[in-house]
């Protein structure tokens, strides 16, 4: 069966893997430096998560068990100037869905979401501390990727946003349960129901971001934080992480169901079409 997102073409991600510790793909790369895994996103225009990125993320989580054996922390960051990640690749989603029936599209979306949730849950449960070093646009699925990490360290110019309701959808990569895990419901509702973006200072004030870095310094601050984390006993660190950061599996499953129900609504197709046909260079912006 064809999927709404055409992952058949990218089932086995291409890329250059020189050793288990190093990979360079079309959407991301990873490396281990000083006991820290650095996962770098680099897919233009702004790290939109489509089938290729998903395939490479799956490759990463597949290698993670081996990587953590000789690492004490993971940093996720973007090497693109525009920002951390603009979210799901809505152009790919819309264009793929146009080629198949609505039922096939809905099934394809569910399969995509189940795959990305497996990736997110694996990073969320990683047996080492994880840090998202974010800058610029951290929207939608990009925000959700940051939320799976134990700490978010933000460049002062970072902005966070869940714009999904503009398309008639809710966040689908685990955003709501994980935002609820970390923040008060009032802030969650504000971000979700208004679709507004907030800056790093605001994000820190509500407890989303743990440290704000100067412009261009988030990765450096994340590396310093990872080095500090590495001083502690590994088993104790893991026990602390598991104690304070439960994974809301039931709510995550429910989120997929709600997303798929909403995806069948005509308003979504209209919203996606408007997005795809926009001539704006960054149509995901509010």
């Amino acid at each position: 069966m064809k999927n709404a997102v055409d992952h058949s073409q990218h089932a086995v991600p291409e890329g250059r893997q020189t050793t288990m510790n190093q990979f360079t793909g079309q959407s991301l790369s990873w490396d281990v430096k000083d006991g820290v895994i650095e996962l770098s996103l680099h897919r233009a225009p702004c790290n939109e998560i489509g089938s290729r990125t998903l395939g490479e993320l799956e490759k990463f989580v597949g290698a993670l068990a081996g990587l953590v054996a000789e690492s004490h922390a993971l940093i996720v960051h973007s090497s693109l100037e525009c920002g951390f990640c603009a979210g799901a690749d809505l152009r790919e989603l819309y264009q793929s869905a146009q080629k198949i029936s609505k039922n096939e599209a809905r099934q394809g979306v569910r399969e995509f979401l189940e795959r990305i949730h497996r990736v997110m849950n694996t990073i969320d449960a990683a047996p080492i501390p994880t840090i998202a070093a974010v800058h610029g646009v951290t929207f939608g699925g990009g925000f959700e990727l940051a939320l799976v990490c134990d700490l978010i360290i933000a460049d002062k110019m970072a902005r966070f946003c869940f714009p999904e309701l503009r398309l008639g959808l809710i966040p689908g990569f685990g955003g709501i349960p994980r935002l609820k895990r970390d923040l008060g419901n009032g802030v969650v509702r504000d971000l979700l129901l208004t679709g507004r973006s907030i800056n790093a200072t605001k994000a820190q004030s509500v407890g989303l971001v743990s440290q704000v870095a100067a412009e261009g310094e988030a990765l450096r601050v994340a590396r310093a934080t990872a080095a500090q984390i590495g001083k502690f006993d590994r088993r104790t660190t893991l026990a602390a992480k598991q104690f304070i950061k439960p994974i809301p599996y039931e709510e995550l499953k429910r989120e997929i169901d709600i997303f798929c129900e909403l995806f069948a609504q005509p308003a979504v197709e209209a919203g996606l079409r408007k997005f795809v046909e926009s001539t704006d260079a960054q149509p995901y912006l509010p």
Binding site: V137, K156, R159, C161, G195, R196, A281, P286
Partner: protein
């Protein structure tokens, strides 16, 4: 005694100065009723950057939806003034 609040003209002047400095446009080329997208030659990503810098400079929150349809400096100053 309340601290004196900036007037709309002061706010407007600070916006123009900040925009000129950041986007490297001569301050004298910017006027209150200019369309800042055109005058500064910025796209929506740079507009988001400007929004963040304005929030930091004035220590306010500017929800995106309050700025929808706003394209001139004077109206932008009014939105900021309402949050000071």
């Amino acid at each position: 005694m309340y601290p004196s609040m900036a007037t709309i003209d002061q706010t407007l002047d600070e916006i123009l100065t900040l925009a000129a400095s950041h986007f490297k446009v001569p301050r004298g080329r910017l006027s209150p009723d200019d369309d800042f997208f055109k005058t500064l030659g910025i796209d929506s990503l740079q507009t988001l950057d400007l929004l963040t810098r304005l929030e930091q400079h004035f220590d306010v929150e500017l929800p995106d939806y309050e700025l929808q349809g706003v394209s001139d400096f004077r109206t932008l100053a009014g939105r900021i003034q309402a949050r000071l």
